[in-house]
Symmetry: C2
DNA sequence: TTTAGCACTCCGGTTGTTCGAGTGCTAAAT
DNA sequence: ATTTAGCACTCGAACAACCGGAGTGCTAAA
């Protein structure tokens, strides 16, 4: 178990390193306000902390740098609460000030705020509205062989898709089909659509539509969900300012990963809800080995529907980012609640 | 005027520099297949070419590097036609092989191909379908105070927008309004919508709708175009491989610009149609001072509706990229023509 | 007019040196 | 038993000196 003094020193070293990005030495620590030991004492403790794996040296006579274990201990036990500056507060409030009509707007805006308030990259996923119910479905023919299908959910989300019209489907059949779909499916949650389709609708179509086989296929094509939630980024170029990303190869692998939305989605998708902090190698992808990622889910109707996160160097301003993420994720939840209040 | 020999040497130097990214010396040029002069002769010519501003030295005893004037002369007078490799051809053909139902798909795919076939960044704008006509307009109420408005064009493009419902607007009024809008506006080209709105529609609404003032405002809100065309990128990380972008500050200003879609749009929007080649400082934005941009418009119904372009280092493979851009822009035009054939 | 030859220039890499920041250890001080 | 002062030591960063090579410009011969 670490002594109080050791904790104090560990904390001071990590704070110092987060500020300066340079190995920190015993002398500078001893000058710290809250610390009243001589450099020699501190050196002894540092040697112990290194032995225990919390600190590392870059070379034999250098100052100390936190190891991943060090950061981990820091975030688990040593976090000081962060107090937002006036500026930060007003910036965060701006999330509410706009007239927001749609979830995507709010989400995009959150990403921007998050990146503006940190000098890191923000990533926002979702929201994936599980509970969204189909409000209306429309098929608008364009030419004899093509049409657009439009699904609208009760959350105001619109999904559209170009579809090809089967030759054998008459326009009256099409109309009938759309009617059936609307009648039977409106109010049905999206995730049940395909299932419902397979059961009830099939029967109905058989009864009422001449060319029901074609129609069925078409309807299935129409409803096939394409709704991979979007990934929004903010401040993608911020990392280029961080000294740890002077090396272009690190930047490259990172940016290449950012471009792969499906992978990013996989890495950040809401699993265990709540706050998650992954430091360096704790991340599942090698491109993040020099990064820390702090993320939190945000929920709607008690269900995690999206994630907001920050990617920065391991030497991240943890207290600030954590507070910020928690704050914004709550704000987002409030906005969603307001937006899609089930007034009933 | 430059002598033939000077042109030959200029060409060889530029080709060499494009390949190697290193200053090229008289010796390597003299070994070139097509050149049969001794290094000394070539040195003399190089000195002249430098005097004339086509070449530069990086230091007093270095080989030569093309100046922007040199590149300019090269692209204007010395381009060799490029022959695509088998691989490249099949890759380009893949643009047609997919079943494409919507313009955006084709455009996105073009961006990908373009970047895969070069090791540069591709940028595709548009298409902005000027001639697109309104096919259908729908307003779907979600709650008592909000709705989604959906516009569909005859090109299959769907535009949707969350709007707030004015309190004084009854649902029957809403329905009437939508009917009027559809009746009067369908078939009208998008760019005429606002104008038509101001004249005919206003009158009609006054006649038929109780709370016409509210309704009008709402209708205007609904139709207000939000359609800044998208900007698609391909291979954004490609540039990081180029030796000229080892320096992270160059990368940074470039990537920051990429993020500003409106600015990129401004810089690339179709003005004079046809092919455009901008080398280094010829570009309007300082972030591009080390880049060349080759772009071409693509047209629909005789009107330039979008741009495809490649951003690379000044030391770009001009012949290949130019052929490629021309090729793909034609392909895109064909696809659009096929897609939105005015069958009438 | 071309080219061989040669002196010269400058860059990049290597080596040596110095300087300073930082350490570990020992012995004195508390 | 802790803490601290003192000191020898280590290492990297910064700088100078040096060398080799690639390339040039110029002159004089072909």
């Amino acid at each position: 178990m670490l002594s109080n003094r050791q904790l104090l020193i560990l904390q001071a070293i990590i704070n110092g390193y987060i500020k300066s990005a340079e190995p920190v030495g015993s002398r500078s620590i001893s000058q710290e306000k809250s610390i009243s030991y001589s450099p020699a004492t501190i050196r002894n403790e540092m040697a112990d902390l290194e032995e225990l794996g919390f600190l590392e040296k870059t070379h034999s006579s250098s100052g100390r740098v936190p190891s991943e274990k060090g950061y981990r201990h820091y975030v688990d036990h040593l976090l000081l609460p962060h107090h937002f500056s006036k500026n930060e507060v007003t910036n965060m409030k701006s999330l509410f000030e706009q007239k927001i009509l749609e979830a995507d707007q709010a989400v995009k805006h959150s990403a921007t705020i998050l990146s503006e308030l940190t000098s890191y990259v923000s990533i926002v996923l979702g929201p994936k509205m599980f509970d969204a119910k189909l409000k209306s479905i429309q098929v608008i023919p364009l030419r004899e062989d093509a049409a657009v299908a439009i699904l609208v959910t009760d959350t105001g989300h619109v999904e559209n898709k170009a579809v090809s019209l089967p030759a054998g489907l008459s326009s009256s059949d099409l109309e009938k089909m759309v009617n059936i779909l609307n009648e039977k499916l409106s109010g049905v949650p999206l995730y049940l659509l395909e299932q419902k389709m397979a059961t009830e609708i099939t029967v109905l179509m058989k009864q009422h539509i001449d060319n029901y086989a074609e129609a069925l296929l078409f309807a299935e094509d129409t409803l096939k969900k394409s709704s991979n939630e979007k990934v929004y980024y903010g401040g993608k170029t911020n990392l280029l300012n961080q000294p740890e990303f002077k090396d272009i190869t690190k930047v490259k692998s990172l940016y290449e990963l950012f471009e792969k939305e499906d992978m990013m989605h996989e890495l950040l998708k809401p699993n265990k809800s709540g706050l998650s902090i992954r430091i360096g190698q704790e991340n599942e992808n090698a491109a993040f080995e020099h990064c820390s990622i702090i993320s939190a889910t945000y929920s709607f109707n008690g269900r995690a529907v999206g994630t907001i996160g920050i990617v920065g160097p391991k030497r991240m301003e943890y207290p600030k980012v954590i507070s910020l993420i928690q704050h914004i994720s709550h704000d987002l939840e409030d906005i969603l609640k307001n937006l899609y209040r089930t007034d009933a």
